[in-house]
Symmetry: C2
Subunit: 886 residues, 2 copies
Amino acid sequence: MLKYVYLFQEGNKDMRNELGGKGAGLAEMTNIGLKVPPGFTITTEACIAYFDAGKKFPAGMLEETIEAMKTIEEQSGKRFGGTENPLLVSVRSGARISMPGMMDTVLNVGLNQETLKRLSELAGERFALDSYRRLIQMFGNIVKGIERHKFEAVLDEYKKKTAGGQDIDLTTEMLKEVVEDFKKLYRDELNEEFPEDPYDQLSQSIGAVFDSWYGAPAVSYRKEEGIPGHWGTAVNIMAMVFGNIGDDSGTGVVFTRDPSTGEKKLYGEFLLTAQGEDVVAGIRTPYSIGEMDELMPEHYKELSDVCTRLEQHYLDVQDIEFTVEKGKLWILQTRTGKRTARSAVKIATDMVEEGLITIEEAITRISPHQVDLLLHPSFDLEAKKKAIDSGDRLAVALNASPGAASGIAVFDADKADELGSAGRAVILVRPETNPDDVHGMAKAVGILTQHGGMTSHAAVVARGWGKPCVAGCESIHIDLKARKFRVSGREIKEGDYISIDGGSGEVFAGELPTVAPDFGKELELQKLLSWADEVRRLGVWANADNPIDAKRALEFGTEGIGLCRTEHMFFEEERRHIVVKMIMSESQEERQKLLDQLLPFQREDFEGIFRVMDGYPVIIRLIDPPMHEFLPPREELIEEVTKLQCTGEDPEKLAELEKIQEVVERMWEINPMMGVRGCRAGIMYPGLTEMQTRAIIEAACNVAKEGIDVHPEIMIPLTSHVNELHVERDKLEKVAKDVIAAKGIEVDYKFGTMIETPRAAITADELAEYSDFFSFGTNDLTQMTYGVSRDDAEGKFLLDYVERGILPKNPFEVLDWDGVGVLMEMCVEKGRKTNPKLEIGICGEHGGEPRSVEFCHLIGLNYVSCSPFRIPIARLSAAQAKLKHG
Amino acid sequence: MLKYVYLFQEGNKDMRNELGGKGAGLAEMTNIGLKVPPGFTITTEACIAYFDAGKKFPAGMLEETIEAMKTIEEQSGKRFGGTENPLLVSVRSGARISMPGMMDTVLNVGLNQETLKRLSELAGERFALDSYRRLIQMFGNIVKGIERHKFEAVLDEYKKKTAGGQDIDLTTEMLKEVVEDFKKLYRDELNEEFPEDPYDQLSQSIGAVFDSWYGAPAVSYRKEEGIPGHWGTAVNIMAMVFGNIGDDSGTGVVFTRDPSTGEKKLYGEFLLTAQGEDVVAGIRTPYSIGEMDELMPEHYKELSDVCTRLEQHYLDVQDIEFTVEKGKLWILQTRTGKRTARSAVKIATDMVEEGLITIEEAITRISPHQVDLLLHPSFDLEAKKKAIDSGDRLAVALNASPGAASGIAVFDADKADELGSAGRAVILVRPETNPDDVHGMAKAVGILTQHGGMTSHAAVVARGWGKPCVAGCESIHIDLKARKFRVSGREIKEGDYISIDGGSGEVFAGELPTVAPDFGKELELQKLLSWADEVRRLGVWANADNPIDAKRALEFGTEGIGLCRTEHMFFEEERRHIVVKMIMSESQEERQKLLDQLLPFQREDFEGIFRVMDGYPVIIRLIDPPMHEFLPPREELIEEVTKLQCTGEDPEKLAELEKIQEVVERMWEINPMMGVRGCRAGIMYPGLTEMQTRAIIEAACNVAKEGIDVHPEIMIPLTSHVNELHVERDKLEKVAKDVIAAKGIEVDYKFGTMIETPRAAITADELAEYSDFFSFGTNDLTQMTYGVSRDDAEGKFLLDYVERGILPKNPFEVLDWDGVGVLMEMCVEKGRKTNPKLEIGICGEHGGEPRSVEFCHLIGLNYVSCSPFRIPIARLSAAQAKLKHG
């Protein structure tokens, strides 16, 4: 027969799955000789069997429980229901993984009229009565389902009669009446008496703790955290010890190191003459753990030894609950201590230096998310809490780009540019953003959009720049004309201060103080990452479009530029009008003249980047977006033209607009994402990519003459048939060779293509014949593999899909291993078959996302490329992938 | 050493690759004992070697040629350059595949001052002089590149001096002068004398024939027909025989069966006292070949025997050239006779019945394109030729849907509907069409669009209906307001007659008479297809949305409906306003009410189809297009609203439009093709697909009660993740079961999904768990695999790509085996692994295209589904695929 009950001395720390985290910890501590109150654990298997049988205890479980109770009685020298020295027990849940506050606990089980009397004699009447009324309340509520507020109402009546109005102000007499009223309430509600039989109390409490596993809070927490329902919970039954019996008693919580800074010193709180709940409830201000040294020096010493022992035993920071009952220290719980990102890094590196853990262990202990948090400003936690309490949190939406920022709300890009340039902290608030807004976004400290998802324009640009962004905040209603937004009854006008937390998706009214990051000063993080660098096989490159980003990427540890987009360069003010004219030009001759004007601008762009990236490869992508993105939006033109036609005003402007409109209509595409863009633009607009290639190679030659070690790699985007690549490469390589011959200096260059369409992946063997490198553009590849337009889908159905569990994850955030991944793997295999030296990387948004980096490691890519701010995450993730998979 | 020269007696019909088609035919005829003038062939290898060596004859070739000439001299009893009995030869090209008129010929080689004299004595001076001047002209033009018109100009001068003004009116004296003038022209142009040495003439002529292989006409013809350039041409040198020497001479062309009807009787033309050129030039009206029986009964008999012999030898209709020289019949050429589609079918089936060929041979002899032509009306060939000659052909654009139609040009769908309903023949002319135009398209006899490609809306709908359509006719300039179009200086106003040939892409001014098809009367075709049915493994199903189409599909031989689209049903006038309200409804309750109103309409639709398809499966696709397609276009709304805002007129209408605009803006998608459509709409609009499923199963139960054998298969479109299918199927199967339970009659139904996204194909193993069938939607699958929007791409770059050879074919016309095909193959394999009984078909446009059907056969699909008019093509293609691949 399956064993359902384990005494603490029968278990150990490896039995987490059977005993739960709490039970395994109590067993381990008991066995290494720490003072733990006697007790036992009913296994998770019992819980599963209970549900399988339609909420019936499995055969033998109760008998084993009674047996175990007898052992506790012996160990404690007390008796359950005994009138000599009554034993009280706590009944607590404990799943494999801690689910704080999600499940139920019943304390003081074993109290009844009989034992109450004896407890009064032993520990005082008031204490005994208070324990008893708590039992009735907890049991009535948790086991029997009587609503909590009904008990509270009774209690409140009595509290009103006191001067202080608090629990502690109730007199012993009053507590007697409370107990009677609680029992009456119990009787009225349930039509039965509160059970006097301690074993009746116990078995019902065990059932209630099992039941709480499927309570609404636990279910939704599990869903959020991905904990499977079939795990079940264990139940821990332990002799009660009381920290509130006399002056030589107390209770507290201690961390073996400071969970917020990581400093190696005890950290925690301690209350004299109090129970655990009192610490949590904050009724009295607790002492810091250091002060315990003065108040109870002997016990502090003992506790300190316990801490050292547990940390060395578990080789990690422990979070320990303890109680001193009448001069005796009891350890009630130990678990791995939760900690801030900063302290996690410090603790991990410290522990390596202390010889407690290996470098590899340190690397696996830090989550990439923690690294992310470290590299962005954050709000002061106190200030944030205060803002929430005072109702200043306006909304919670998508955490599109981490970091915290406060500034005045501004509703258009021009004004954001103007005020931002004048040194004001500005938060740009838009329904959504597009490339026209980029100048304003550049000058804003943060971005808030009403529409759009995690990969909307705003989100992508913000993440690229490491700027905080909250996106898809549908609860705000923007009135662009009135320059304000409304949200839950409040109105934020232009110029009002708001604060956004891009890490949590929160939006606040007012200005919250922030704490700034500085990678240069994160010495422990740098140490950890340098260890990661030694471990990882994947290279980590950066997506950077200009010298400033490139410089930042180097600081973060990049080994090359995996994606330098050239279209941003076309949007700059002084060039924009040339670009527009170029697109609208009616003859090849006219177009070439305009392209010639753009050439020196582009060349300068590249020279700047090459100088910064001395010695490193730089992959430059030729122009990619649909050409009409450089022209005014179609709908704006229709509106303006209709208006001018209607009013008859300004016929000159009308004529001009009509001319542009004609071109826009001609170029307009129903599905622009799959239209004339990428290499198709290169093929259909003669001279365009030739100009870009000329600019790249001229720049490379120029800086090479300065003594810079330059490695340009020219990337042809959106290939779907080998001939596109063939035609473009042939044409462009001729330009490259001409320039090199003319400049008279050898420059090492490569040509390659982006893998963005499924067909490119499928025909990788053909493409590899004309490619020195491949780079996965997984944003587009995901779009096309799924048949989902990321610009449209996230707000309209994709996030809803994730919410409803139809999709496990948003595939634009986390690479889709089973779909897109299959194509990527096929591509790598076919590509390398043709060209074993093929350099293969990824430059989509996924390049800085841990699960995606793991996949890239698995299929043997050479590198991942991501925005500079995600480089540390990628370095760590790459190392973790190597440790996990070899 | 390679042998470059083959005497006719040395070759045979299987040496096509070396000797070319003409050479192989001459050799074969020589060897089976027919009277062929002596001659020999210089091989294609010689031609290739000639070009490889930079236009130098390969070593030994000339020597072999001289050797062969000696044999001809012996065989003919004449001598080349001899003054006794001079031998003249023709020098003709002859590639593997006939390239009519694309390459050069030089006749009468061997004439000079000396031989001319003797020829004059033997055959008359006028004849000799005429032959000589022809030689000088051909040689000067073809070998030496003197422009043809210069010779013509000389000749014209003399013709003017005659009464008749024709060649034959020239006197012998005049011809003498012409010869002198031609020689002077030759001398002036080239600064050399016309060569007197016959071997000089011969070798230069051979080089010129080789050179013509790379002449512009031949190169462009090869490109069109897909003939590789490295094949080269052979050169045939043959003793000249003359049909114009005396009354017992003549010349003609004969087909062994009528190439236009297929009737089994000799067909051809014959001229007495004439040369081959005279037949072609049409100087005199020739006799029909039947009349030869009266004029030259003996030779007619001989010829008739030759015909029978050659047909039985080649087992196919022969096209034979012959000459009677002084009472002796010579056969100058035989080749497979080109024939009309109709005759091809008749000949093939007749030959099977005659025991000449097998059923399998008959099936491979008919091209699917011929079947296609048979099933569409065509213009009377004479009338078409006349129209071209008189300049009435306005344009040639995309042959988007075959068939010919004449009607009045009409520029909007409403008017087309009105006039069409009133019995007028209408051609709808639009910049492009969309679902709003469908009612007008339905009443038009043909469609002409300015924009859009082979898979544009107009093309797809037209093909579906078997209506002629010419699309992408960019050379016409439509002025919708003025209701007219301009093209090459002409103007066609509304009401003017135009004619379009959707098989050739031609557009004509005026009304051309047509010849109508009737499948029911095509008895030979039906016989051939029934043979094909016995051979093929692939099923052939039809795409049909209504009972009329379903009935037509049955006539054409369908075995089921592979795609019944349900969205067309939503566009019908009486339902449209309910659909619009349903989409705009703000509460689920309101939406459900409107869906309930749509239910009976849908049920009726399905009942009608099920009744027609008694005993056959019917696959019904749940709603697929983006929902906003049912609302007015965004840009029209912007224009109208702006106008009303500006004028202040009609505030009520403004308010209404603004309300619609709000919804349209909310629903608007940047890339609608990848937005909320397919199963995404089913998931995001609760009640919609439930209503459709209810309508389908209720209809099935209702007709089952009538005794109809009904097999509905419900198809969930655009799945990209298994959970979408899972969620939809679970939801809908519940509806199906409820209906069946309520109706109390068992109905056999299936659920399945369309494979339209690459991810669906990749994860087919997962999808197969929830699918009874798969159907490839290769239009979408091609779009997403290529990353090419078919709505945009064809006009903007795709056709240009095909033109430039970047893409071998338009992948929306011919399935892309190497890209999309790889996904399909993977899908079939993975899907059948999970569910070996999985029924897999294709319902994209490719289902009726021969190369695509071949691929579907290869990867083991169960069926192809195509528009009713393409069913015969698919039946034949499927049989051909089976014969080719087993």
